[in-house]
Structure formats: structure tokens, C-alpha cells
């Protein structure tokens, strides 16, 4: 307001206009003013002396100073009022500004401050990992970053930014520059960047680039366990397998925490909720063994390729509790890149697709007949090779070459997989009773496996079944009803476990990092007893004969007692009846016979070729899996080598029993060394 260059012009008139009466009316201010003017005159005299103003040439300057002195010397109430007004005005302005800041702009400013001082700490809370039986990680979460660029807020030229980013992203600067030119903001430069790459990008401290964190489920074993584990989609939702059926066990809630931040950027933990740091280290353990899985997968792939089959599945069940040691389906998919796979592969057809089991069901029919005492184990049946039931022809698969076989024992019926023999066996039973037994073993019901989308098998209704002889006759050799491959394994589990109906499952439970169980699924402690252990053992010995002498020779493992049954069934067509050339081949094996531990099943859909049977397509796969199980579990051979004399110490090894007592030809076992 006051112009410094010409203070006199402004002050002088004020002083001149001031009336004399006013000057005398305020003695205190007058005294003060006199004192001040005295001081000023002294100081100015000093200044003029030092500047040499007393010299004659400086008269003009002296006059100016005199005028200045006189201007300040005289007090002025008006000036005081003005100063007061200026001060008051300034104060009012300050108050107004305060009101503006504290009242009018307060919400905006508060928001701005919050955004600067607080951070949303969103800790990386991963979905729980899934591990296999021996601790191999099958699925684990990891954070990944998406890199966005906003050229509009770049402080450097685009070329510089592109050159800085290029070596880290592994792309050429030119390519990046082209992308940067596409938009002003929100350009997605790269997806799925690792944490280390993200760190390197952040360290560049480039304005206008932005990293967004996401979770990504990683399946390190790729195709290996896809059919068990399943996959999660881009929204972290489990869509298949365990990821879908056990999502409640795998998901952990993600709560973002709002934290204050100090000026230095460090976080202030005063608002952190309890338990924030303590993420539980639980993992979901499966019963699947990835080593068995790998063997099964490679054997299956080989056979599917060799026979040009549509698909195949291998299942291994532990008969102690129904735990699945392996579940492999082919073709499979890589859950890391699920979006590239055919949608059809996401369903696990071992649980979702029905087929007619064919001959693999014959041992169960024999067990039913034995259990109901409809037949005796040593009973002899006449195998005509071809018969008519209700005017429908039924014949053996080898009728054209072998013809009528005549008197045949039950064991031989299984060995030769004789359809006619099986019809004769089941004709010993009342059809109503037979139907009851088919229901009792679980046909028409789901197995209750803990994998999603399982469907129940199909069985004809009681009326149709009991009224027509042909339905019971076809059921005798495993046609006319349908089940899933997993149910086939469950049914053979009844024979293997001494007559118990086990529930197949793949989930062992939630375990902490020390291996202590935290949660385990509730299972039936006492499985339903279907057959007596004697019946089960009798049928097992008949099945062992199938591997020793019959159609299952391909599954023999020297030194070990393997029971098995091949199956080659026609496929039902959509229009009714059976398809001409489409068949399903399968092989089910139980071993070791003396003390069964595993049920191994391989089912191959639509293998091509003249020699495509259960014995040629599926049995070699089962043998490979049995080999793997024996070596992994270090199972000692069942039969001692013929040269080794039974010693008293032999009984100390569990599972070593003299083969002769069971009427089995001893096979020399090279591995059995004394």
C-alpha cells in the first residue's frame, strides 16, 4: 500500500491537514511521538554524518531527509486508525480464509489429506495351497502384476520411458513406444509380471506408470493333477475339481486394512485389526500321490496314442479307507492355461460319464451269487457258447473261434470271460433278489466322492428287471445298466476290502505347516459290509486266476499275486441299441491277493484297431501302475522264490506266505533274495 519510493508525498499532506487542537488533545501519544522523532533525528544525523551529507554539495539530499524527519515526527490519529483498519482488515481476511479452509473446503481437503496419509494395505492373502499325499505342491497362489502406462502424466519423453522399460519387460523399445502412442492413459503394457520384475519397475520411479496387483493360481505340475485339482478362473473362483468342491476350505477372506502413513512413508500400525499378521499356514492335503499319478499318466498317454482312443482314465484306490491314490484322465488340460483348453475337458469323465461296464462287472455277479449261496465256488456249468434268452441271442465273444466250451467251472467262466456261463450263474438266483443285490451294492446311486459333478449310475426299474429275463441275463455280463468308472472302482473295492462298501475320496484334510491335522472330513467309520470276507477272498482268487491263466496275463508282475478282470463292452448309442464299432475297454485289478491294498482300474474309451481289448489296451497300463505302487510302497513279493526253503524267519515278514497252500503256481521271483 505504502509506496516506499515517495513516502513524503503520502505523509506530508496528512500532517498538514491535521488540526493543532487535536495534536494537544492526546498528551500520551504526543510524548511518544516526540520521543520517536528525537530518536529518528539522532539516527538520521548519524547517517548524514557518515554519508558526508553535511558537505555543501549534498544540500538537496539533506533537505529531503529533513522533510522525512518532519513527516515522521508528527503523530497522526488518522494514521493510527488507518493502521488499525489495515490490521483489522488483514485479520478479517485471515479469518475469512480460515472459514474457507475449515468450513467450505474442509471436506475436499480432508479427503486429500486422507488420501495422502492413509494407504489401503491389502495384504496378499493367498488361497490355501493344495498338496499331494507326500507334500508336493499341486496348486499355490502367487501375486502377479499388470503394468499400466499413462503417457499423459509422463515427466519424461515417451522414448526415454520406453527405453527404460524395455530391458525389464524384455521387449524392444520400439514396440513399447508404439503401444504408448495408442492412448493418453490406461495402456496395458504387460500382464502377469512377477514380483521381482514389479520391484525393478518401481525402482525406476517413473511418473505415469502404474502396477496393479492380482492373484494368480499356479499349478506347478501342469497337466498332472488337473482332473483332481481343477482350476480357478480369472475371478479366483474354483471351476472344477477340488478347487470347486472345496472352495470353502481353500478361500480366505481378503480384508483390506486402512492404515495411516507417516511423512516418511512408513506405516502406522495403530488401526490394524487383531490377527492381521497371523495368516494361518494351513494347506489342503490330498490322498493323490503325484508319483503314481505321473506313472499312470505316461502309461495312459502311451496307450491312448497307440490305439487312437478317444479318451482314457486310470484310477487307483487304497482299499484301507477308499482314498484315491491316483486319478488320471487323458486328454487333460493345463490348469495354468485353462482358457486355451477345450471346455469338455474340464469335466472329469470318470465321474460324469456313464458306460456299461461289461465283463469287469462279472466278478461282482459271482460274488452276489456266492454270497446268496445260489452257487458253490466249485460248481460246474455248461457253456454252450451261444444261447437264446427271450429270443435274444447271447453268445461268447470268442464263439466264432472257440465254439461251445462245455463243462466249465466258475473260475474258468471268469478266466474266459464267458457270457453264457455268467447267464447260467445268475439264472440260479431269483431276479427280484438279484435286483435287490444290485441296489445293495450301490448301482443307481452316486458313490459320494468328494469331487464335484458326480452323477449316479443307471439301473432299470424293478418291474422291467424282474419281468423280463433278458435284463437279468445282460446284467450278468455287465450290460444293460451303466455306471461311472469311479463306481466300478468302488464296486471292486468291496471285493478288495473284504466285503466293505468304501467311499472313494481324494481329500485327506487341512493340515498346518507342522503336519498336524486341523480339519478332516467326517467319514463313515464303519463302512457297510456287503459281502462276507470269505466270499470276497474266493472271488479274488478266481480273479487271480484270470491274470495267471486268462485274459489278464498282461498285468502279471513276477512274484506278486495280482487279481484282475478285463472288460470290453459295447457302447450304447444315442438312438438305442449299441454302436457298431465303438467299444470301451477296461481292466480292473486288485493286489496283492493275500492282503489286498489297491484297486487299480484303467478305462479306455473307443480304442481303434482289431486287437483293441481290455487285455491289450488297458491291462498294460494297470501293470505299469502296479509296478510303480510296488516300488513306491516297497511291497515285498507275495511268493517266495521256488528255490528258497521256507525259513522260520519268513513269517516275520507280513504278506509272505507259501504259494503252494493256495494252489497257485509259484513263479520264481528274482528279487526275492535270501
Amino acid at each position: 500500500m505504502v509506496k516506499r519510493s515517495k513516502p513524503t508525498n503520502h505523509l506530508r499532506p496528512t500532517q498538514m491537514r491535521l488540526p493543532a487542537s487535536q495534536r494537544g488533545s492526546k498528551p500520551v501519544s504526543a510524548t511518544l511521538a516526540t520521543l520517536l522523532s528525537d530518536l529518528r533525528s539522532r539516527s538520521s544525523r548519524l547517517a548524514t554524518n557518515s554519508l558526508g551529507l553535511n558537505r555543501p554539495g549534498n544540500a538537496g539530499m539533506r533537505r529531503l531527509l529533513e522533510r522525512l524527519r518532519t513527516a515522521h515526527a508528527k503523530p497522526s490519529a488518522r494514521r493510527l486508525v488507518m493502521v488499525w483498519a489495515v490490521l483489522l482488515g488483514a485479520m478479517v481476511l485471515l479469518v475469512l480464509n480460515l472459514v474457507r479452509l475449515q468450513v467450505i473446503q474442509a471436506p475436499d481437503l480432508l479427503k486429500q489429506a486422507r488420501s495422502q496419509q492413509t494407504i489401503f494395505l491389502r495384504p496378499f492373502i493367498p488361497r490355501r495351497p493344495i498338496v499331494d499325499r507326500i507334500g508336493n505342491v499341486l496348486a499355490i497362489d502367487q501375486p502377479v502384476y499388470t503394468l499400466y502406462a499413462h503417457p499423459v502424466s509422463f515427466k519424461e519423453p515417451k522414448t526415454t520411458v520406453a527405453e527404460k522399460l524395455a530391458p525389464i519387460l524384455g521387449k524392444s523399445a520400439g514396440e513399447l513406444l508404439r503401444k504408448l502412442d495408442t492412448a493418453e492413459s490406461g495402456i496395458r503394457l504387460e500382464v502377469a509380471l512377477s514380483e521381482n520384475t514389479a520391484d525393478r519397475l518401481l525402482n525406476l520411479q517413473i511418473d505415469g506408470i502404474d502396477l496393479a496387483q492380482q492373484q494368480q493360481r499356479l499349478y506347478p505340475q501342469q497337466h498332472l493333477t488337473a482332473d483332481v485339482v481343477g482350476y480357478v478362473d480369472v475371478d479366483q473362483q474354483g471351476q472344477a475339481g477340488i478347487e470347486h468342491s472345496h472352495k470353502n476350505l481353500l478361500q480366505r477372506s481378503i480384508k483390506s486394512v486402512r492404515l495411516s502413513r507417516t511423512g516418511l512413508g512408513s506405516m502406522m500400525p495403530d488401526r490394524i485389526p487383531g490377527g492381521f499378521l497371523h495368516i494361518d499356514n494351513l494347506h489342503l492335503q490330498l490322498t493323490v500321490d503325484s508319483r503314481v499319478q505321473r506313472t499312470a499318466q505316461s502309461a495312459l498317454q502311451q496307450q491312448v496314442k497307440k490305439y487312437g482312443a478317444k479318451r482314457g482314465v486310470v484310477l487307483v484306490m487304497d482299499v484301507a479307507d477308499g482314498a484315491l491314490r491316483s486319478l488320471v484322465s487323458e486328454p487333460s488340460y493345463d490348469p495354468n492355461e485353462y482358457y486355451k483348453a477345450n471346455v469338455e475337458r474340464f469335466k472329469n469323465w470318470a465321474m460324469t460319464d456313464l458306460y456299461e461296464p461289461g465283463s469287469t462287472f462279472k466278478p461282482l455277479n459271482v460274488a452276489i451269487a456266492l454270497e446268496t449261496k445260489a452257487i458253490r465256488p466249485d460248481q460246474i456249468f455248461n457253456d454252450e457258447g451261444s444261447i437264446y434268452v427271450d429270443q435274444w441271442p447271447i453268445q461268447n465273444f470268442d464263439y466264432s473261434t472257440a465254439g461251445a466250451r462245455g463243462a466249465t467251472s466258475v473260475t474258468q467262466i471268469l478266466e474266459r470271460s464267458s457270457n453264457v456261463g455268467m447267464v447260467h450263474i445268475m439264472q440260479q438266483m431269483q431276479r427280484d433278489n438279484y435286483y435287490n443285490w444290485l441296489q445293495k451294492i450301490g448301482l443307481g446311486q452316486p458313490t459320494g466322492i468328494d469331487l464335484p459333478f458326480e452323477i449316479a449310475g443307471q439301473l432299470k426299474d424293478r418291474k422291467t428287471f424282474t419281468e423280463s429275463a433278458i435284463d437279468a441275463a445282460t446284467s450278468a455280463f455287465g450290460q444293460g445298466f451303466s455306471l461311472t468308472p469311479i463306481q466300478l472302482v468302488q464296486l471292486h473295492g468291496i471285493l478288495a476290502s473284504g466285503g466293505k462298501l468304501l467311499t472313494p475320496h481324494v481329500v485327506q484334510g487341512l493340515y498346518d505347516e507342522a503336519g498336524h491335522p486341523y480339519w478332516q472330513p467326517v467319514r463313515q467309520t464303519q463302512p457297510q459290509q456287503i459281502f462276507s470276507p470269505q466270499t470276497a477272498q474266493t472271488v479274488l482268487q478266481m480273479m487271480e486266476s484270470v491274470v495267471q491263466k486268462g485274459s489278464g496275463k498282461a498285468a502279471q508282475v513276477p512274484g506278486y499275486r495280482i487279481a484282475g478282470k478285463t472288460g470290453t463292452a459295447q457302447k450304447a448309442s444315442a438312438s438305442g441299441g449299441y454302436q457298431e464299432n465303438a467299444k470301451i475297454t477296461s481292466f480292473v485289478s486288485i493286489f496283492p491277493v493275500e492282503n489286498p491294498r489297491y484297486v487299480v482300474a484303467a478305462v479306455i474309451d473307443e480304442p481303434k484297431g482289431e486287437d483293441a481289448f481290455g487285455s491289450t489296451v488297458a491291462a498294460p497300463i494297470v501293470k505299469a501302475v502296479i509296478d510303480a505302487l510296488i516300488t513306491l510302497d516297497q511291497m515285498p513279493p507275495s511268493q517266495p522264490a521256488a528255490t528258497v526253503a521256507p525259513s522260520p524267519g519268513a513269517s516275520a515278514i507280513e504278506g509272505l506266505s507259501p504259494a503252494e497252500s493256495l494252489g497257485v503256481e509259484p513263479v520264481p521271483a528274482p528279487s526275492s533274495t535270501p
Binding site: P126, I140, M267, I630
Partner: protein, 167 residues
């Protein structure tokens, strides 16, 4: 305000003193007495010294105590404030350390599993020197039968009963 009150309380005699000589000695008006310092004059107690009331003293005590308490509290407030700031900084650092460790754990697990998968796949490739285990390569040893009734020595060999004296 408080300061003046205090000074008044500390020196209560200051205002009364000019008046006191008159009251102290009624003989001072006697013209015959010239000297104030006569030998027979009795020493009298000054009244001001005794006149500090108890309530003032208690107030004084309260004041001193509150000064000490104030300094103590101020000190502890500073200490607590400093501690909170420091502990938050420490927390921030430790949290970052925790995150780093978690990340390392994750990366270690992931890399280990991917390596396993890669090795297993290499083993399946033709030309691989890795051989799958098979039952005919297993060797099972029977436990040797017990060696009959060979009598075990009744007196097992014992260490010298004399303990070593030093090492």
C-alpha cells in the same frame, strides 16, 4: 497473578515493617532515650517470621509437588510419544521384512515344484539316462533267523568303575 501472590506470601513482613517499630517499643517516644542501641534494650522477636499461615504452606507444598509432577508427566509424555513413534517405525520395518520373507518362501516353493516337474518330464523323454524303478530291481532282505539259544554273557562288559579324574 500467581507470582505476585507468591511474593506476597513469601515476604509478608515487607508491608508491615515500616509500622512495626512504633508498636514494638512504646518507649521510643521517650525524648530521654537518644540511642536506639542501648545495652539494656531487650531483643524482641520479629512478628513477621511467625505469621506464615498453614494454608499458605500447604499451598506452597502443593505448588512444589505439582511442579515436580508436571515435569515428570511432561517427561513421560515425551517418552511415551517418542516410543509410539519409534515403535510404529519399527513395526513398519518389521512388516516389510515379514512380507519379504513370505515372498521368499513362496518363490522357493514355486521354484522347487517347477524344478521337480521339469526333472520328472526330462526323465520321461527318450534318451534320458534316468531309469524308472521297477519291482524286478527291488531287493528285499529277509530278517536272519535268530541264532538259537546262544547264552549271552551274564556279566556285560562294563567300563572301569574308576571315573576319569580329568580331561
Amino acid at each position: 497473578m500467581l507470582v505476585t501472590l507468591m511474593s506476597v506470601a513469601l515476604n509478608p513482613s515487607r508491608r508491615k515493617r515500616p509500622a512495626s517499630p512504633r508498636h514494638v517499643s512504646p518507649r521510643s517516644s521517650d525524648p530521654r532515650r537518644v540511642s536506639l542501641f542501648s545495652p539494656d534494650r531487650q531483643v524482641q522477636r520479629l512478628p513477621a517470621q511467625a505469621s506464615v499461615p498453614a494454608w499458605v504452606r500447604s499451598l506452597l507444598w502443593v505448588q512444589q509437588a505439582s511442579v515436580v509432577a508436571t515435569f515428570g508427566l511432561a517427561g513421560s509424555v515425551l517418552a511415551v510419544y517418542g516410543w509410539t513413534v519409534y515403535s510404529q517405525q519399527v513395526w513398519g520395518k518389521e512388516y516389510q521384512q515379514l512380507e519379504t520373507l513370505r515372498r521368499h518362501e513362496r518363490q522357493l516353493t514355486t521354484n522347487k515344484e517347477m524344478l521337480k516337474d521339469q526333472i520328472a518330464k526330462q526323465g520321461n523323454r527318450p534318451g534320458s539316462t534316468l531309469v524308472p524303478q521297477s519291482p524286478d530291481r527291488l531287493i528285499f532282505l529277509r530278517p536272519a533267523p535268530s541264532r538259537g539259544d546262544a547264552p549271552t554273557p551274564l556279566t556285560p562288559p562294563q567300563a572301569s568303575p574308576i571315573a576319569p579324574l580329568g580331561y
